[in-house]
Symmetry: C2
Subunit: 211 residues, 2 copies
């Protein structure tokens, strides 16, 4: 995944000649706490936060050029950089907005922490039965019902609470990968459970083939 | 995981009688864009963002009580609520700070989007060999070397690029779950690959047992 796949293309920006008062109103109206300051060709000239604005208002400054941070102080990420760089920079520098630039150093979007959370949440929200479908299509000769039977057995053995194949199937249709990880106590435990199921059905399959 | 396991206990707050000017300076110094307003017993009385402050400064307001949002406008999460609620609220309402309250409605911490990103990143940063270790301990009678041999075979078959067991082991010691998901094209494909490896070693194991 690339940085540009996480960014918002529809972002708010201002010019260094805008007045602080006008920019403060724009920030309030658009609910933006930090803003890029761009030139006419969309190249980054500076950066300002609402905290620079409060200071500027108190001190009677007039235009953004008097209060803005200059480009050497601003983190930027190239559009084709790994999305992971965006996550690392946002987390390390507590960035509310991270500008994404193209080959000509034009700003083409920004990433907000919420964009990162949404992207990461998508992974957590994958339904567990999708993983079972991948398992079914991978394990040729094993039916969905055999997988559910084996899962119910492994679950009953592990938790001590009897569960039928039908109940198990209902559970995995409702629960997400995120639920499963919190419930089993981590990625490794979740995967260990899946492997137990795989072990059981594969042993049956190999056994049947040898009959 | 509970909401309180994600929160920062060391948070900044102010009183409704503080002046807007004092609070603006406090926000600038602590680099906080939004702040809870608490009474003497740490109960939530209101909320203010740096954008409420810019408006207040422009309009010549004096104290926080004149500009703060009242508690009916503020999202809060109970400390024992699922961490997932924190993620959902932060993402949906684009919250820079989400207050966590205890049974007595006292604010005991706040969650920032960065805390969520850090927690989620921990999952992505799990090394792939940790998942293999879970697989090894689950599959009694299968050795680590057999797992690496099977993985190298499956990888060579899938990618068309020959790889030795030793090279494969080096790869999984370096790469993370996050890397693997981006590389294989998704959670389901990643698991499908692991299941192929499981299938190969289990078939060998069952075969050996029958000899």
């Amino acid at each position: 995944m690339k940085a540009c796949q996480m960014m918002e293309k529809d972002f708010v920006y201002v010019s260094k000649d805008d007045t602080i008062v006008d920019v403060s109103i724009k920030m309030e109206e658009t609910k933006r706490f930090t803003l890029p300051i761009l030139d006419e060709s969309m190249k980054l000239e500076g950066w300002a936060t609402s905290l620079d604005i409060t200071k500027g208002l108190r001190e009677g400054k007039k235009t953004m050029s008097e209060i803005m941070h200059t480009i050497d102080e601003i983190k930027v990420v190239h559009k084709d950089a790994p999305a992971k760089n965006v996550v690392t920079d946002t987390s390390e520098f507590k960035l509310i907005n991270l500008p994404i630039i193209d080959d000509n150093e034009k700003v083409i979007g920004v990433v907000r922490p919420f964009d990162i959370i949404d992207t990461m949440s998508d992974l957590y929200d994958i339904k567990v039965y999708k993983i079972y479908e991948a398992m079914e299509s991978q394990l040729k000769g094993i039916t969905w019902d055999e997988l559910m039977e084996a899962s119910a057995k492994v679950s009953t053995r592990t938790t001590g609470v009897p569960i039928t194949a039908e109940q198990y199937e209902n559970n995995i249709r409702k629960s997400t990968f995120g639920d499963a990880i919190w419930a089993t106590g981590g990625l490794e435990s979740f995967f260990a459970g899946l492997i137990s199921v795989g072990e059981l059905v594969i042993a049956q399959k190999v056994g049947n083939a040898r009959k």
